[in-house]
Amino acid sequence: MLENLTQSFGKVLDRFRGPGKLSDEHIAEGLREVRRALLEADVHFKVARDFSKNVGERLKGEERLAGVTGSQQVIHAFHQELVALMQGKGEPANLPKNPGHPMVLLLAGLQGAGKTTTAAKLGLWLRKRQNRKVLLAACDLQRPAAVDQLVALGKQLDVDVHAETPGQPGVDPRSVAERALEAAKKGRYDALVVDSAGRLHVDEPLMAEIASVAEAVQPDATYLVLDSMTGQDAVESARSFSEHLDLFGVILTKLDGDARGGAALSVREVTGRPITFLGVGEKASDLEEFHAERLASRILDMGDVVSLVEKAQEVVDEEEAAQDYMKLMEGRFTFEDLLSQFRMLKKMGSMKKIFGMLPGAGKMSGLLDQVDDREIARMEAIVLSMTAAERLHPEIIDGRRRRRIARGSGMEVSDVNRLLQTFHAMQKQIKSLGRMMKGGGRSKKRLIKQLSRSGQLPPFAPPGRR
């Protein structure tokens, strides 16, 4: 996910890491690269311009600081700016508590952004993560069979759907939404997710229509659903939707593709609203919570160990995950760890997704492209053909051992070599991350704090607990 963006920044950072000391030329050259990377990533022209300017100023200020290396400075500056851009002013607000009423979430967005799929994903998320009784409201009466689609998804996920037949008298988006809210209250649902018709942001009547739906159901949170492949126009549509609706957050979809996702940065800037969720796959469970800090780290190619741990939490218990995490930080990463990762992976989902969260993933993305889920089984077979000593001390694996391992696992020696290469790359990145963490006691603490909180702090607070 976001590999390309990460990769670009990786390249830029490598430039900075090289010379060691930062000159004005280096800053200027670096900034040109940053700006180009941002534009290639579909960050809006003006946002990219301001961003690189800010980074430049920050770098100049920090040059006078003693005791830090050039690359540390640059990483720090980039990180700060990226986080600032993604978060804007203020922390993501918590939802007001609303006892006795279902929490109402409204989804808005352009055609094809992924609203209906997201409505279903969000419904599942609310049920699984917040233990709510969820009702979905099918208010996209425009796209043929959009209502059928939500009904079918609801059936698949065992989430109730309020649906009415489009074209019947009295069946308009506002009335359907109102009746869905009534049904949610009567049925003692905890949450109502309202799907809406996709629209062009320049279509005034349709924008007025969704504003009227919002007025009728008084949503606790209105989300703008945004396709991560969107180009410069993301800024225009975000602006237009935020003029008509009181947006609470943004849901970024289709991040399992290779879009660089620069639109996320732009939209954050324009709406001032946080990105709250990420759609990362075809499965209904492929909805992730968004953390600016994490994305910034990912862009800086430091990987996202925290997010990895969070994802793993649903599978392994928290303490175990924390131990794994600390172990990773100390750089003691062995094939035994990789093996347990594989096993976790089987329960957790796509290989690529997990590797994408690991440090150094950007640089390995060429390799990642070749990895599919079936390869997990093959890689596992290779590791299983290793002796205990080989797993703990991979450096003893010589040519003869490679041949034996290949034979034992029914693979080619080249497959074994490839796995070893991947493993070494991961090991190296994890070690350097560990060193970095040791250097900065504060950031380590922050990461661990995040770790202990993850999963327990949903992006919004539940309404009154009964």
């Binding site: 180009r36 534009l39 290639e40 990533a41 579909d42 809006h44 022209f45 003006k46 352009l110 055609q111 094809g112 952004a113 992924g114 796209r143 043929p144 069979a145 959009a146 059928d148 689609q149 939500l150 009904v151 079918a152 998804l153 698949q156 062009l200 942001h201 320049v202 396709d227 492949m229 969107t230 180009g231 410069q232 126009d233 993301a234 225009e236 549509s237 289709k254 399992d256 593709g257 290779d258 879009a259 660089r260 620069g262 639109a263 075809e282 492209d369 599919d372």
Partner: protein
């Protein structure tokens, strides 16, 4: 394509760009002009290509090539319209089979506008007197078949469908047989949206195409990739990956009726030499026109007449 309607779609774009071009044509220093041009190009999703164009323009400024007003915009128009191709024959944008049904396979990422484009294409063929058959190859997304069923009812055209979850290659096979049996002029095969990074789904597409080619000689006669005009630089990657998997023969640029400029299609055209066959310009069935590069760029850069 009908210039009027097309222009209406691009009106906002044009207004903004013409304002910027007016600034360009004025007595400002080259640097200010270049800055304005930079903004025009980048905000139109022209992407990295914009950097190259800017360098060219800057060089020409330095050489004194742009002495008169309007010369620079003129240069740009020529340069841009050279990057993106339309169909060779405006009257006959799509290849046809010598005999038997012509098969058109529609592919694209999720939400790009495939199903709507299929409906519009059916309508376009019908208005040219063709008998059209449609295959509901999107058996993956919930209610995709229902969506196409509603369109086909409206269009009064036959739909070959299978239950949700069926093998799309089997649907394509049945549709090809039906097209032969009914002696249809055209068979349009819709497919499920797939992100070009999903290897197994891309392979499935290749299988659909193969099944069709076995059934009907020379088919599919066109494989059209539907691109969302609001997509940014990822469009190139999409086109590349789809082309690696099946021989894409052209593009449909959908959703060109908002403020999005569709500039990414210039990079797609340049990198992959894929012609744009049609543009989707609105919600109505006839908001669908054959692509003309000159008009596309003209509408984008607003000619002097205004």
């Amino acid at each position: 394509m009908v210039l009027g309607k097309f222009r209406k779609g691009l009106e906002r774009t044009r207004n903004r760009i013409s304002q910027a071009l007016k600034r360009l044509a004025g007595d400002q220093s080259a640097e200010i002009s270049l800055e304005a041009l930079e903004e025009i190009l980048y905000t139109a999703d022209v992407g990295p290509l914009a950097g190259e164009l800017l360098e060219e323009v800057e060089k020409k400024y330095k050489k004194g090539d742009f002495s008169g007003t309007g010369e620079m915009p003129q240069f740009l128009r020529q340069r841009l319209s050279g990057l993106v191709q339309g169909p060779d024959d405006q009257a006959k944008p799509l290849s046809r089979a010598d005999k038997g049904p012509s098969v058109i396979l529609i592919v694209g990422v999720n939400g790009s506008g495939k199903t709507t484009s299929v409906a519009k294409l059916v309508h376009w063929y019908q208005s040219h007197g063709c008998q059209v058959l449609v295959a509901a190859g999107d058996t993956f997304r919930a209610a995709a078949v229902e969506q196409l069923t509603i369109w086909c009812q409206r269009l009064n055209t036959e739909l070959i469908r299978a239950p949700h979850g069926a093998d799309p290659a089997a649907v394509a096979h049945d549709a090809a047989e039906a097209a032969l049996a009914r002696k249809a002029d055209v068979l349009i095969v819709d497919t499920a949206g797939r992100l070009h990074t999903q290897k197994n789904l891309m392979q499935e597409l290749e299988k659909v195409s193969r099944v069709i080619s076995r059934k009907i000689d020379g088919a599919p006669h066109e494989i059209l990739l539907v691109l969302d005009a609001t997509t940014g630089q990822n469009a190139v990657q999409q086109a590349r990956r789809f082309q690696e998997c099946v021989p894409v023969s052209g593009l449909i640029l959908a959703k060109l009726d908002g403020t999005a400029k569709g500039g990414a299609v210039l990079s797609v055209g340049r990198e992959l030499k894929l012609p744009v066959k049609f543009v989707g310009l609105g919600e109505q069935l006839d908001d669908f026109e054959v692509f003309n590069p000159q008009e596309f760029v003209d509408a984008l850069l607003e000619p002097q007449e205004a």
